[in-house]
């Protein structure tokens, strides 16, 4: 049985690994697959591994829970600015809503994003959490 959302499944590996697109003409990187560079219009776009650390650029706490998350509880959605300047929209986990701050260092996490149903496919992907570990070298 194929999942009801084949597009989500096809994009799974990009979502698992936080792969992005990089324009070989102007160097602009962005999240997700692209055929055309949003900055310069070039069609020379390659898939790249985005950095796994960054800082919180802006955030909001979601209290009005969507139907599929009705028992999840409030959660933090943020725009994370990665080390190379790429901005990613992501949930922030392992952090209480009152503790999130702009500029807070965060790192890539691998989490459950949702599920089709109790009997269906589980969707996994990237989220960010407060930095646990900073490379010493």
């Amino acid at each position: 049985m194929m999942p009801k959302s084949p597009r989500i499944w096809q994009l799974a590996e990009r979502r698992y690994r936080l792969l992005g697109s990089r324009c070989t003409a102007c160097g602009k990187t962005s999240v997700g697959p692209r055929n055309v560079c949003p900055a310069c219009g070039s069609e020379d776009v390659e898939t790249v591994q985005l950095p796994s650390t960054g800082t919180v650029y802006s955030y909001t706490v979601v209290h009005a829970l969507p139907a599929e998350r009705e028992r999840y509880g409030p959660y933090i959605m943020a725009i994370v600015e990665l080390e190379d300047g790429t901005r990613v929209t992501s949930e922030i986990v392992d952090c209480e809503p009152e503790d999130v701050k702009i500029g807070m260092p965060v790192e890539l996490a691998f989490r459950v994003i949702g599920q089709e149903s109790e009997e269906g496919i589980i969707y996994y992907g990237y989220k960010f959490r407060p930095l646990v570990f900073r490379k010493t070298n």
């Binding site: 590996e13 698992y16 690994r17 459950v112 589980i122 959490r129 570990f133 010493t136």
Partner: protein, 354 residues
């Protein structure tokens, strides 16, 4: 029984992961009106609790990524096998290893499978990687030992069943070794000490039956069998890391085997994080690697209900000094904690039925 005299089959990367949340056993006892004195014998103070969006797969991926960080010389494309050992897979049918493979960028040409043997699926995964690396079938294998274990509300298992795990990259004659395998010895019998029937949500156990004929018999037989075959004594080992279903069994089994308490304490995690099931003794091994010196010898003994034990003699190599600081240590995760009460714990676990 296998003795590896060539010192070439080695762990070249290791990594662990423990969720951030903890619950004190007082909070669980309070929820059920259980007197705390009844639980002192477990010697567990608090256990790790999965986050609301964590499961066995997410723990496996986090541990695998940390193992890769400690093996900078290994590309994910060189990993020829990924084996995941667990008793708490979110899918009954669909291997965790398939999701880990995608999450680390493993190649299409890769052997994937999951192992289940209660708390020793993880060491089975390690044995598969050892044998395939030694036989030349793979350059590197990734063995994962992680669980996110369910426990029946109100059952005594609730005081120990927790979430966490570790992963190991294993090669033979390649990479920068962190520790090499010297020997391996396993035992198994038909012992119904703990089980979970198909389609049943929570495991059941034989109560007092889980001690002597299950845990102690198998761990002792595997550890003594390995020492006998290697012609070694407890004095030859610097550390012993037995499976940790609670805080008292591992200390007691080490004592019965003739090891001093100082050799079991460095790898003892259950009093502060609980029982990671498949991830229990492997994460104890990681905590030892986080602090061990080259040349030191470790006796690792898993135990899986049902029942069986896998014992390994592991010698720390020079690579540990170069690689230890490349990823978070077990202690970094132990210290990162946020306490929750039983109601939040039950919500995270979906134990509240509607």
């Amino acid at each position: 029984m296998s003795v590896f005299n060539d010192k070439k089959t080695a762990i070249v990367g290791y990594g662990s992961y423990i969720p951030r949340y903890r619950i004190k056993i007082e909070s669980i006892a309070h929820a059920w009106g259980e007197p705390l004195e009844m639980l002192r014998g477990l010697r567990v103070q608090e256990i790790s609790v999965k986050g609301r969006d964590e499961d066995q797969v997410t723990i496996a991926v986090e541990a695998a990524r940390n193992a890769l960080r400690r093996a900078p010389e290994v590309s994910a494309k060189e990993i020829g096998a990924i084996y995941s050992g667990s008793e708490s897979k979110p899918y009954a049918v669909k291997p965790t290893s398939t999701i880990v493979a995608a999450a680390i960028g493993a190649p299409l040409s890769v052997r994937l499978a999951d192992y289940e043997f209660a708390c020793k699926g993880g060491t089975e995964a390690i044995i598969s990687c050892i044998s395939q690396a030694r036989s030349g079938m793979i350059k590197y294998g990734l063995a994962i030992a992680a669980d996110c274990s369910q426990s029946l509300p109100g059952d005594v298992l609730e005081y120990t069943a927790s979430a966490g795990g570790s992963a190991f990259i294993i090669g033979h004659g390649s990479g920068d070794p962190i520790a090499y395998f010297e020997g391996q010895y396993s035992v198994g019998t038909d012992t119904p000490d703990f089980w979970r029937r198909d389609l049943i949500k929570y495991p059941r156990h034989g109560g007092r039956f889980t001690g002597e004929p299950a845990y102690f018999r198998h761990v002792m037989a595997a550890a003594s069998g390995l020492m006998r075959e290697l012609n070694m004594k407890p004095e030859d080992f610097d550390y012993i890391v037995p499976h940790q279903p609670n805080g008292s069994f591992p200390v007691e089994v080490a004592k019965r085997l003739g090891f001093s308490e100082s050799k079991v304490l460095p790898g003892l995690l259950s009093p502060i994080v609980g029982n990671f099931y498949s991830g229990s003794s492997p994460t104890g091994l990681c905590r030892v690697l986080d602090q061990a010196k080259p040349g030191q010898r470790i006796l690792l003994v898993s135990f899986g209900s049902g029942a069986g034990s896998d014992a390994f003699s592991i010698v720390v190599a020079d690579g540990i000094e170069r690689k230890r600081d490349l990823a978070p240590k077990v202690e970094d995760y132990v210290e990162r904690k946020k306490y929750v009460d039983y109601s939040v714990y039950a919500r995270f676990w979906g134990k509240i039925a509607f």
